[in-house]
Symmetry: C2
Subunit: 222 residues, 2 copies
């Protein structure tokens, strides 16, 4: 059932421009399903840190991973309070007034704490999800992680139970203002993300063709 | 003079893959000059928060802005410790092993605290920088902010004195490993950002042509 604004916790409620706030899991999963990077903020004991990370999500959890030797991963595995933000930018919003200039974007913010995943089946499922998130179909093409790689990798998960999506779409906000009489173009310039021509690794053995996963990615686009 | 790794503070030093770390202002300014969004992390008294924001930078400072009524802006203006991260993703790094999959990216992390800017000349210069950051040439085309808009806008600045840029470029890391013998394509799929066809605002007066700034943007690309 979709949450209403009244059900949501104080820390996730969107106050500025409240009509941009969405709290239902479908909206949140939709953004998480299209983002590539998360920015993970946490307090490392002395400072707030904000680190870009690849992520995956399935079930009710957001997964991240990193070296078991990483300071950030250790702090997060210790249960440091965290905020995970996934942002996708869609366009430049060009108004007649400088003040109304903006960007169209979608951003999910999820609050909570990560926990270290010990269960080997869940760890492997997360590893698969990270790989598939980067490139659908890649898990079956790539060599899957061996015992040493699994040991070196910490996999952390956070429940998606306090989250919001903030979404700005559409034209600039000054269509109805006296500024609309001005002699200046206003509208949106879309920002489009696409894939370029694949660059083979210098060490790629001769005669190895593009993987099916890559061919399909190039056909489908982001 | 370029900083060496030994000059940099503990919190900015890149520990994992240290050769990816850069500490000189030229590298940092270069990334800040090409990013569009910053993710700003701070502790709001109860939780870490990570908020995507438009930004600008000039002189030795990163500038952000927001409504004087915004909780986040108020917390940051009160001097909350902050981390500003600007990330640009350039490609999917596809290795033979799932473990070596990665992304090519550049990320600047800057630590410090914001202060509220009172000086009207600096506030106006920041407003211009925000507008020009979004679209070079736009400041002179748009209606510049009036007294009421300036009053409603808090402009905050943070010194760029503790910052690092972490940059991953190039092919996957398994060219030299036994995995290179595997029968699977490896390399980089570039992620390319470009601008789409401008969408005029529904309220745009008939007969107003695209602004010169937008025409130039489309010619030059991101």
């Amino acid at each position: 059932m979709a949450q209403t604004r009244h059900d949501v916790s104080d820390r996730v409620r969107v106050r500025r421009n409240p009509t941009r706030g969405h709290y239902d899991r479908a909206s949140i999963d939709d953004v998480l399903g299209r983002g590539l990077l998360a920015h993970v903020a946490f307090f490392d004991g002395r400072d707030p840190c904000c680190i870009p990370m690849l992520y995956a999500h399935f079930g009710d959890r957001i997964y991240i991973h990193g070296s078991t030797a990483s300071r950030a991963i250790r702090a997060l595995a210790d249960g440091a309070a965290a905020c995970v933000t996934v942002t996708i930018v869609h366009g430049l919003v060009l108004a007649r007034s400088a003040y109304e200039h903006s960007a169209n974007y979608e951003a999910v913010m999820a609050f909570g704490a990560f926990e270290l995943i010990d269960d080997e089946a869940e760890r492997l499922a997360a590893f698969e999800a990270f790989t598939e998130r980067l490139l659908p179909g890649r898990w079956e093409e790539a060599r899957q992680p061996n015992a040493q790689e699994l040991k070196a990798t910490a996999i952390l998960a956070m429940e998606i139970d306090e989250a919001s999506a903030k979404i700005r779409t559409g034209p600039p906000d000054d269509d109805e203002s006296p500024d609309a009489e001005r002699n200046v173009w206003a509208g949106v310039v879309p920002i489009v993300s696409s894939y370029g021509t694949p660059v083979p690794s210098p060490g790629l053995r001769p005669g190895i063709p593009l993987s099916p996963s890559v061919r399909e990615l190039l056909q489908n686009g982001p």
